[in-house]
């Protein structure tokens, strides 16, 4: 039974966006701080640090996860995806990201990384969601700029585009 002492830092290893990473964390280090300060992956944002705003949402082993409510030592061995892993190439946006840009679904961008991760995981499980289902999902995020409507539009358009792409590849 591993017992990690409060007084020391411990090696934490996991897969981040397809690459193995490792760093040192005290037991109390939050995953959000570990990602940003130890790994240097600053795409994940930090807002409230008590689970309410959703800015820090990442994908841990397929589960949407508040990185501010998760300890780095809890994700030892996990597979984690963050906003840095969404774009297929450094100069290309994902379908969802491109839809966000077209619809002005972001202004200051503070909430965006978390919302993109939620939608990315959600659209895989529900490729053809209703507007209500998208709004229900977005209830787990706060955006102070957009009023949400452009985000809903972008999500529905991205979903349609992803379905079309799926259909084409199935027929190819």
């Amino acid at each position: 039974m591993p017992r990690l002492s409060a007084a020391a830092r411990h090696t934490v290893r996991f897969t981040l966006n397809g690459r193995p990473v490792a760093g040192q964390a005290a037991p109390r280090t939050l995953l959000s701080d570990f990602l940003r300060h130890e790994i240097g992956a600053t795409g994940t944002h930090v807002g409230c640090e008590h689970g309410v705003c959703g800015a820090c949402t990442v994908d841990v082993d397929g589960m949407l996860t508040r990185a501010c409510m998760t300890l780095a030592v809890q994700v030892e061995g996990a597979t984690i995806r963050t906003v840095e892993g969404l774009a297929p190439a450094p100069d290309r946006l994902s379908v969802l990201q491109a839809a966000f840009r077209r619809h002005h679904a972001l202004q200051c961008g503070f909430c965006t990384a978390g919302i993109l991760m939620s939608l990315d995981v959600f659209l895989k499980a529900e490729p053809d969601p209703s507007e209500d289902a998208v709004r229900d999902l977005l209830s787990g995020h706060l955006c102070r700029c957009t009023g949400y409507t452009p985000i809903v539009r972008a999500a529905l358009e991205a979903a349609a585009e992803l379905r079309d792409a799926q259909g084409e590849s199935a027929h190819a």
Partner: protein, 274 residues
């Protein structure tokens, strides 16, 4: 907002977790989904010396039908229960209430038993457990006991669980042939309820559970009342619950919600049975 320092134990078995609780008593706390507890740690409302993470203890992730009840282990996350095949037939009240418990982003990590342990007076799962007359299975390094929901919740975020005990599982009875309904009023969907109501209607009576009003969820049985007799019974219940004023709502508004949402929930459960 960062937690104070603590040791972290990644328990590999129930016995290991219980051994730490036995040695460290109130200095040790269980960490499950973290969706309530991490906020308390970040705000330093809690400062345990040791956290015992139970989420890698495989046997705790069990969920099974047992003697007319659905028994849910401490490792079962809310999202897994909500996605369980046939939940709306097996446990319709849970299927109706769970979508109100937080958001997709918190149900993905938060556990069923963690919500019961946390005992927030507005939380949906404790309300369902009390309304369905469920049980909490508690375990220490040496003993096990099974406590009825009504005896488990003892006050605002207070329970009958001792410091060296953990919740191993909770059992939600799955009665057949009853109409069920769940309603709640919150400022936004996914917020904690200002008032939540759960109703069960059988051929012989009504059981109504109310959350968010008293310091803990409370359920009462009524005969099959109608019309003004039902209004009178709900009015009496609304006063009995001793509603609080707080930043979210006045006591008077809460009483009015018990009368109105209580009635609407009972009527919906009746239609559901018919």
């Amino acid at each position: 907002m960062k937690p104070a320092a603590f040791d972290y134990v990644r328990a590999e078995s129930v016995d290991e977790a219980l051994a730490v609780l036995r040695e460290e008593g109130s200095d040790a706390r269980i960490l499950a989904g973290g969706m309530s507890f991490m906020a308390m740690l970040n705000m330093r409302l809690a400062r345990p010396k040791v956290l015992v993470d139970i989420m890698r203890v495989a046997p705790l992730a069990r969920m099974e039908e047992e003697k007319g009840a659905l028994k849910i282990g401490a490792g079962v996350r809310q999202a897994r229960l909500l996605a369980a095949d046939g939940l709306d037939h097996a446990a319709p009240l849970l299927a109706k209430a769970l979508p109100f418990t937080g958001h997709a982003q918190t149900r993905s990590r938060g556990t069923v038993c963690g919500s019961i342990a946390h005992a927030d007076p507005s939380a949906e799962l404790p309300l369902c457990l009390v309304t369905l007359k469920g049980h909490v299975h508690l375990k220490t390094a040496k003993t096990s006991r099974k406590v009825a929901a009504d005896d488990f919740f003892t006050g605002m975020m207070a329970t009958a669980k001792a410091d060296d005990e953990m919740i191993e599982a909770v059992s939600f009875p799955t009665p057949k042939g009853e109409g069920t309904a769940f309603r709640e009023i919150a400022r936004r969907h996914g917020d904690f309820a200002i008032v939540a109501c759960a109703a069960l209607v059988s051929g012989t009576g009504i059981r109504l559970g109310v959350g968010g009003v008293a310091d803990m969820p409370v359920a009462r049985d009524f005969p099959l009342l109608d019309g003004s007799a039902l209004d009178d019974a709900l009015n009496a219940l609304a006063w009995e619950l001793d509603a609080r004023d707080d930043v979210h709502a006045s006591a008077r508004y809460r009483r009015e919600l018990v009368r109105r949402i209580g009635r609407a929930t009972i009527e919906e459960a009746r239609r559901c049975r018919a």
